[in-house]
Symmetry: C2
Subunit: 118 residues, 2 copies
């Protein structure tokens, strides 16, 4: 089994189907964007986190971008939003099982990234 066999999952035709809609592009699209990884990383490290805590932890992010990114992650099923109608209002974000399946893959990508940085 050559290394190429792994890619044949999504490149099994004479013309690469990745140009159109393919699962790999879907995956990369979901975790793409400037703030997605920092958000996932923060939530993974800290567990359920409140909105403002998240904003303070992720340096440089604005309300606009944090809200937008969180909404997309929620729509894609990676993040769960829980609202507690207390006083004052409390909203917590946490990772879902879908994300837990993704984490080891990102870990592998990290290892690969380390090697290539040399």
């Amino acid at each position: 089994m050559s290394a190429s066999d792994h890619l044949n999952h999504f490149c099994s035709e004479n013309i690469c189907p990745c140009q159109e809609k393919c699962p790999l592009s879907t995956a990369l699209g979901i975790i793409g964007g400037k703030w997605k990884i920092p958000i996932l990383c923060a939530l993974n490290y800290d567990g359920p986190t409140r909105y403002n805590a998240l904003r303070k932890k992720i340096k440089g992010v604005t309300n606009t971008m944090l809200v937008t990114s969180l909404k997309e992650l929620e729509a894609d099923g990676l993040v769960l939003r829980t609202q507690y109608n207390e006083m004052p209002l409390r909203v917590e974000y946490k990772l879902t099982e879908n994300t837990n399946n993704l984490l080891p893959i990102l870990g592998n990508l990290t290892v690969w990234g380390k090697e290539i940085e040399n």
Copy 2:
């Protein structure tokens, strides 16, 4: 060993280091962009390929984008350019060992992408 342990490779501080330079961001930056994956996919499927053949295979790509993407991939050590000074000129591109290490990870991402599409 929890799923989280995988991410702790690149998120081992109180404040997520991914916001600054981290190997995961590096990796995603390298394979990011609209045409990187289609190029890697085509080269993986077909082996060493000439410039024009690559351009015909990757539907919709322009000279500008193909050249730019190939140069970046070459600079990042994912693609090797070989020029044969024949008549007419022949230039072939192929994947490097660095890329072969990446392929199984992309395969895993593809599997994850398939599952989340449902």
